[in-house]
């Protein structure tokens, strides 16, 4: 079974996990990975074709009127001030 450092995964995923749940996850994550690892048995490659979907670019114009959604977006923010999103200070002196 794949050796997985679940604590590290949780950190990479930016998710705080309680000690109790970590015990469950340390059992479940390797079990799920053991299940999906059966794809290793699948052989052969199929040439990647351009199917019905391809990269579509829109015209480089204004998709909507400027400031059309500003108020709605400001209202959705956890912390806003004077029309700006307020975020935590991340640069310190020391």
């Amino acid at each position: 079974m794949t050796d997985v450092d679940v604590t590290k995964l949780a950190k990479l995923s930016r998710i705080a996990v309680s000690d109790e749940e970590m015990k469950d996850l340390e059992k479940e994550v390797p079990e799920i990975l053991a299940f999906v690892e059966q794809i290793a048995e699948a052989g052969g490659e199929v040439a990647k074709e351009t199917g019905e979907h391809y990269n579509i670019l829109r015209e480089d114009t204004e998709p909507h009127e400027s400031s059309a959604y500003t108020n709605e977006m400001l209202e959705a923010m956890p912390d806003a001030k004077n029309g700006y999103l307020k975020v935590r200070k991340i640069i310190s002196q020391d």
Partner: protein, 473 residues
């Protein structure tokens, strides 16, 4: 007003012949919803502007401007944005999120004069097959309230099966429309990937997600699909009308027998075989087909989907919108917000997705899974050279009991065995009622799934109507 078997077509007739107003029709559903929602937990919220919506619909009808859905009361899954309404995807992390714009499908339904009764329960971020992963409690199957309704569109399915709406919109990433439709005795349709714009649907697995209808009849599902479909420049994977074929009624039906041997309840398989026999007697040609790589579909899906989910859900960090939990520094803000905001299954899938995309593992997991996905697509392409549609059961079992699989993620994932290959291939599929099987003295619905080639969505409505006639007879 008798709501039990009321279809969109019948309601349309009542409205157009002035036998009922939209206000009256909607009021009947509101009474039923208010009476039954505590028991079923189908709606997370019943909207307070329903009567105004119905009045606008009546005005459209009075002006002679009615369309097929004018005044028709619908339930909308909680991951589809309606401007000014909360859209939480049944997650704590979005419990306070008010949509700042309408999804493309909602714009279309508003133009058509449809009435939105409320937002319907689901598994959190559409991750699940039972609604047990909702942060707001499980929805209950109207056929047996001790059982799950299926998921993730379990809330929408219960609103329709329990007569709390005429029809509903859901989303389907790996079976999330078809499986609850099967388990609640409804028609559920997953369109060709790209047939319906995903603009304004909260993303789970972006290469798999499609919006589609849950309804009481094939015709109703078709009416809803015809209203919401169409190209949209805001979804770069949406397809032009010219891509879609007006297919003939399917005659030749392929059955992948090799795929039906394991994990299917005996009486479900018997009902499936009897249904296939009825199709043969009705004049359809039945042939065995091989889909050699489809046995890997579930495993490949549970790599691709968590990979996409972990990247899509990275945006919920408590900075710009949604719930924010403050920690001791910026990193801890993220850790606390996401740790408290996401439910258990979401956390599990984010971890799996993070792992399969991580350096040193991405080749063996994610890239291998996308190669397997190409093989599955190729299997379907080859099969459709010889047959018009493919038939399988929708779900290997009827509705299971609440709590029965909740602590075993892999048992829960197995519920999707027949539905995930379709999303991996991007082809359309429909689930139709296929009779009932008995469990603990209760008769529970099961579903038949028909699958068509890319763009042949309309042929599924043809075979679906045939099947309704055959099974109903």
């Amino acid at each position: 007003m008798e709501l039990k078997d009321l279809t969109i077509r019948e309601a349309r007739k009542l409205l157009d012949e002035n036998k009922a107003t939209a206000v009256e029709l909607v009021a009947a559903y509101m009474r039923r919803a208010q009476e039954k929602n505590d028991e079923f937990n189908a709606y997370l919220e019943i909207f307070d502007d329903v009567e105004e919506q119905a009045k606008r619909a009546d005005e459209m009808i009075a002006r002679g401007e009615m369309k097929p859905l004018t005044g028709i009361p619908l339930a909308i899954k909680d991951n589809i944005l309606i401007k000014g309404c909360v859209a939480s995807a049944a997650s704590k992390i979005l419990e306070n999120y008010v949509a700042s714009y309408d999804a493309h499908v909602i714009e279309k339904l508003k133009e058509a004069g449809a009435v939105f009764l409320g937002r319907a329960n689901m598994d959190e971020f559409a991750m699940g097959s039972s609604t047990e992963n909702s942060a707001y409690g499980v929805s209950r199957n109207p056929h047996d309230t001790m059982r799950i309704p299926g998921g993730s569109s379990g809330g929408p399915a219960v609103t329709v099966a329990g007569d709390l709406a005429i029809a509903a919109l859901g989303t389907d990433t790996g079976g999330s429309i078809r499986q609850p439709a099967a388990l609640c005795g409804l028609v559920g349709f997953k369109p060709t990937y790209g047939a319906v714009s995903r603009y304004g649907a909260i993303a789970l697995g972006s290469s798999l997600d499609q919006i589609g209808p849950l309804a009481k009849s094939v015709e109703d599902a078709q009416i809803l699909f015809e209203t919401i479909r169409g190209i949209d420049e805001r979804d770069s994977t949406s397809l032009p009308d010219t891509f879609f074929k007006n297919g003939d009624t399917p005659k030749k039906i392929g059955v992948p027998r090799h795929f039906l041997n394991e994990g299917v309840d005996e009486d479900v398989l018997t009902a499936f075989n009897e249904s296939v026999e009825k199709l043969r007697v009705d004049g359809h040609e039945i042939v065995d087909i091989e889909l050699p790589n489809v046995k890997y579909a579930l495993a490949a899906y549970y790599i691709v989907m968590p990979a996409e989910a972990s990247t899509n859900l990275a945006r919920y960090d408590g900075v710009r919108y949604g719930v924010a939990h403050k920690g001791k520094d910026l990193l801890d803000d993220y850790m606390q917000t996401r740790g408290k905001g996401f439910g258990k299954e979401s956390r599990r899938r984010i971890l799996i997705g993070t792992f399969v995309l991580s350096s040193g593992y991405a080749d063996a997991y994610y890239r291998k899974a996308t190669a397997v996905r190409e093989q599955i697509r190729e299997d379907f392409r080859k099969a459709f050279e010889n047959v018009d549609v493919i038939a399988t059961p929708t779900s290997p079992t009827p509705a299971f009991k609440i709590g029965e699989r909740a602590s075993d993620p892999l048992a829960m994932y197995a519920a999707d065995i027949f539905t995930v290959p379709i999303n991996m291939a991007g082809v359309p599929a429909i689930s139709l009622p296929m009779g009932k099987v008995e469990r603990d003295g209760t008769r529970l619905p099961i579903g038949m799934q028909f699958i068509a080639p890319h763009g042949a969505d309309s042929s599924l409505f043809s075979i679906g109507k045939d099947f309704e006639r055959i099974i109903g007879a």
